[in-house]
Subunit: 166 residues, 2 copies
DNA sequence: ATATGTGCAAATCTTTTGCAAATTC
DNA sequence: GAATTTGCAAAAGATTTGCACATAT
């Protein structure tokens, strides 16, 4: 990938990475490295987030976790999300609030990428590019800001939808 | 501004633009041009958003509007925000949820810019750069996506805070 | 005159919290 | 065994909705 491009697409239900240069470090290992106490619930939730082919919101994550451990509680899900977020291990997204006010989560990737949400069909595309990496460096340098989290989200019409008549 | 830089700073309370190249088209005129029916409430709310030196959340906007029209309702505020958002006249921000889960709004500017939120002191900095504009064009071209809304938000430590000991 | 917008009150949706019991190291 | 985490139940915070009345064009 010379410059940039779509690295994955999700049509509300699935997401398929097609760029091997983007990897997801193991959340479990990162937590261990940080000496975080691991409970059965955390292992379960972290595993689901790590393996998920799609962006998960708290309610969906809870539902999925309940299949394995029906006793797990909503509060634990939120607390685990907060833990991962504060440790910088997951990213939080809005996906342009295309579907309610909730947040979506994904394991941090080796390379930052942007999310493009189609207002018409709801497709979510991920886009990574060296220009984005460069912009990030430039922003940090010029502002003196130490960037911990960066989130670039786009809303509009995907290639297919902009061609369709209304 | 050759490349990019901080264009405004807001320390939770105020924001001061220091880059004349960034302007805010008149919301009122844009609405008129689109043939939107104008009520007293809309004029009031739109005026407040247009003139605000800071990013407003719905509750704050309601409070400010009540000073002028005590009878104005929360629902009207949310409905007006939705109207402006769908017409592409205001941008919606999270400011990294540095203060609760609410959203913040600002009149769309002539030039897209990014928001940087300091996790320690809560300062909000706005950053505009030609690299951002370029990235935006590149993303649209390479993905075939028609960008309607773009939102770049950063969280981390501002220049001052990163120097201070914890 | 008619379509559209508003206020009110209740509902919904998402996320957070206090606390006693359970679990991890 | 001490410190931390969980489930539960209730609360809080943000936003939305149905409906009768008011307003804009």
């Amino acid at each position: 990938m010379l410059n940039g491009g779509i690295v994955a697409t999700e049509s509300h239900l699935g997401r398929s990475a097609n760029d091997a240069s983007i990897t997801r470090p193991s959340l479990m290992k990162e937590l261990a490295a940080r000496g975080v106490r691991m409970t059965a619930q955390r292992r379960l939730l972290v595993g689901i987030i790590q393996d998920s082919p799609r962006h998960l919101d708290a309610a969906t994550l809870l539902e999925m976790a309940k299949e394995e451990d029906p006793g797990i509680d909503r509060a634990t899900v939120y607390r685990t999300i907060a833990l991962l977020k504060h440790r910088g291990l997951i990213d939080e997204l809005d996906l342009m609030h295309i579907e309610g006010e909730k947040h979506y989560y994904e394991a941090k990737t080796s390379r930052d990428h942007c999310h493009m949400a189609c207002f018409r069909c709801g497709a979510i595309m991920e886009y990574a590019s060296s220009s984005f990496e460069r912009l990030k460096k430039e922003m940090a340098q010029q502002s003196g800001f130490e960037i911990r989290v960066i989130r670039l989200e786009v809303g509009g019409l995907c290639k297919k939808c902009r061609r369709k008549p209304v």
